[in-house]
Structure formats: structure tokens, C-alpha cells
């Protein structure tokens, strides 16, 4: 019975933290894209700042999500069926979130237009990967098979 109670704690932690990287990476990419098209320098900077903060918060949220997920999956990093597809999207998404955060924290506002465009492409790729990981995570918990 203690084992089941312990499992519930990790389930709650996974359920509580796993939505942070999904939602925040999506809005981070959108904020940065808006910052790239808006002409007003002041508004542009604010969108980029919001993009940075949501990216960092999403990346920080990914750590408890990954830890609790690994414990729930009994430390399985691959698996079969929906769990396999969850992991196929999850690991590249996790790596990309960390890489994007490190790059942004080092470069800050000192980026070129080409550098920003490459970053934005990577940010939308991360948003797609983390959303796909979230979809397959939902299939693991609520799927029919």
C-alpha cells in the first residue's frame, strides 16, 4: 500500500509539472516571433524579455517532469507503444529546451538577425517536440490500449 501511495506522489508531481514546459515553450516561441515582427523597439524588447523568462521557466519545469516521469516509468528510457513515442519526442525536446536556454542566457540581446532566425526556428521545433511528447504522455495515461 505504501508503494501505491508513493506512486501517487510521483503521478501528482508529473501531472503538476509536465504542463509547464509544454505551455511555456509554446508561448515563448510566440512571444519571440512577435518581438521579431513588431517595429516599436520598446515593445519588441518586452516581447523578447517575456520570451526569455517563459523559456527559462519552462526549462526549469522540465526537470521535475522528467524526474517524476522516469520514476513512474520505472526508469525506462525507451519502452513500447505510447511510452516509446513519448520518449522519442521527449528526449530531443528536453535537450533542445536546455540548449535554447543556455544560448539565450549567454547571448541575451547581443544577437544578429540571422542568429535570431535560427534561434526562432529551433524554438518552434522545441515547441512542436514538447507538445508531441505531451500528446503521447496523455496517450500513456488515458489511451485505450
Amino acid at each position: 500500500m505504501e508503494l501505491f501511495l508513493a506512486a501517487n506522489i510521483w503521478e501528482m508531481m508529473h501531472g503538476g509539472s509536465t504542463h509547464l514546459p509544454v505551455a511555456l515553450m509554446l508561448v515563448s516561441a510566440v512571444f519571440d516571433a512577435l518581438g521579431g515582427v513588431i517595429r516599436s523597439e520598446q515593445v519588441k524588447d518586452r516581447f523578447h524579455a517575456a520570451g526569455l523568462f517563459t523559456l527559462i521557466a519552462g526549462t526549469l519545469g522540465a526537470f521535475p517532469a522528467v524526474l517524476s516521469g522516469l520514476i513512474l516509468a520505472r526508469w525506462e528510457i525507451g519502452g513500447t507503444g505510447a511510452l516509446f513515442w513519448h520518449h522519442v519526442f521527449l528526449w530531443p525536446a528536453f535537450a533542445l529546451l536546455i540548449a535554447l536556454s543556455v544560448w539565450r542566457l549567454i547571448v541575451r540581446g547581443r544577437r544578429s538577425r540571422a542568429g535570431f532566425l535560427i534561434y526562432l526556428l529551433a524554438a518552434f521545433a522545441a515547441a512542436f517536440l514538447v507538445s508531441a511528447a505531451g500528446y503521447w504522455g496523455g496517450e500513456v495515461l488515458l489511451g485505450g490500449s
Partner: protein
């Protein structure tokens, strides 16, 4: 100035890839090591005991499984008409919900046949399957 900016972005990119590779690599490596250690401990424990000590809950669940579930999921729960039930990753509530309500067109409902304690026992047995 433009060259210096490109240099900073390039160095930041290389550093970002290295940090991501180290973090994700160490996470995957640690998980693999922990899983291997757990499996080794389990196999050592099973080898040292001639008769596995099943708890009363799991033993009751095993009996219920043999009567109600083994027709479709096979005697050893590795799957036949129904899926393999080893290493389930669904939540306890979800598994009990499937036992109670079944899956339309795929699995019958056992909500009327099994009491709550029976479902707990069945769940305990399913969780014991590795």
C-alpha cells in the same frame, strides 16, 4: 563588430549543445544504471528464494486474474486476445476504471462482479508483473 557578434553566437551555440548533451546524457545514463541495479536486485532476490513470497493481496489478485482475465490476457498475462499486462504505465485509478467499466467493443466490464477490495488485489497483482 558583425564578426565578433557571430563569434559570440557560435561559441554560445557550441556551449549550449555541450551542456544539453551532458545533462540529457547523464540523465539517460543514470536511468539506465538505476534500472539495471533494480533488475539485478530483483533477480538476486528471486534466485535466493525457492518459493517467491507473494503477499496475501497479490496472491488474491492472482487468483482473480486466473478466473476473470487469463482467457484473454493469457495465463502469464503476456497477452493473447487482449494486450500484455506487464509493466503497465497507466495510473492506478485508470487501471481500476478499465477493470470497472471495461473498454467498449474490446473488454467486458467487471464493475458488478468485483468488489473494491478485489479490484485492489487485481491491481496489486498487475503491479507485481515485471
Amino acid at each position: 563588430m558583425k564578426r565578433a557578434l557571430f563569434g559570440l553566437e557560435f561559441i554560445a551555440g557550441v556551449l549550449a549543445i555541450v551542456v544539453a548533451a551532458v545533462v540529457v546524457g547523464s540523465t539517460l545514463g543514470s536511468a539506465t544504471l538505476v534500472r539495471a541495479a533494480i533488475e539485478k536486485a530483483r533477480s538476486d532476490s528471486a534466485a535466493s528464494s525457492n518459493q517467491p513470497q507473494l503477499s496475501a493481496l497479490v496472491a488474491h489478485g492472482q487468483k482473480l486474474f486466473a478466473v476473470n482475465c487469463s482467457h484473454c490476457h493469457a495465463d502469464d498475462a503476456t497477452g493473447d486476445e487482449g494486450p500484455d499486462l506487464h509493466g503497465l504505465t497507466k495510473s492506478d485509478e485508470r487501471i481500476k476504471g478499465i477493470i470497472t467499466n471495461g473498454i467498449k467493443g474490446e473488454m467486458p466490464a467487471f464493475g458488478k462482479k468485483l468488489q473494491e477490495a478485489d479490484k485492489d488485489a487485481l491491481l496489486g497483482f498487475l503491479r507485481s508483473l515485471k
